[in-house]
Amino acid sequence: MTDETPAHKNPVVVAFATTMLAAMRDESRSLQFAVLLTDDGFEVAHHSATLDATATADGKLASMSSSIQALSEAVTRELKISAPNEYIVLATDKGQVIQQRIPGHTLVLAALFSNDENLGLALSVLRRHADQAANFLTAQGVK
């Protein structure tokens, strides 16, 4: 049975996401911020290890991640290189934002890692948790 409640209004999903994001931080101490968001930019939950409240206020980073996801997918569509497991990396000298869709669902997982983390390891943390979220959401009947 499918649960039609949007993920950001579904207390079961919000509780799961909150726990999952904290677990990501436990796994990777270089994780500074992580957010699970809906396709249309609503924050389901976030975990902030180092970012101050202003940076994360009003779910702004969720909205921005939603726009980046859609714009990046528009580019890969245009270039005819889109694939199911694509991910996005924004890298600077001070850190790296990585995000990807939750496979099979209309949610996105985005995370900011410091440069103490190697990109490959950061990506594997993100992917593992995205897969874990996919399994949970499927079991719950959430899109």
Binding site: T38, D39, D40
Partner: protein, 190 residues
Amino acid sequence: MAEHVILFTGPMGAGKTTAIQSLSEIDVVLTEGVNTDRETADKATTTVALDYGEIDLGDTDKVRLYGIPGQRRFEFMWRILKQRAKGMVLLVNNDAHDPISAMLEYLDEFAELYEKGGVIIGISRSDVSGTPTLDQYAAALDAARPGMLAPVMTVDPRDGAHMRMALMTLIANIEMRAMFGSMQHAQEPA
């Protein structure tokens, strides 16, 4: 070739993406997300970054058409997109809750586009809701922004010819205001 960058603004569900799709001569670049806010607008998807289309007007003018996401949580995209724009098609759906306030809110938010070029206000879905009337929109506009030269008309975003007429009205409005502006400038004492 003259180039115009026109921004399509207005609340979620006003028909911005549809209008750009009706007008564009290229495949429209869409950035749609699954819409989880069905109470605000009962549609399957919503723009989350921008829409982009292009149209040539005659042999001399190219118009670049950008659409914004209508929801305020994407305000950072509004700030980015309004930087290059020289004119605005403000679409307001007549069946929205308090569409006149929505019109005034978007006019305030994008006021610089009126200063930079021009604005046209298109009232969509007037077939679904007959009120407010165009006179009521015009009166509210006159009261809130006296002297503002912004045509108000009903539009059907699905109708390419209809939207083209609205766009041409905007371009004519922008060019006329630019011409009067430069004439005024020339008459000012040195």
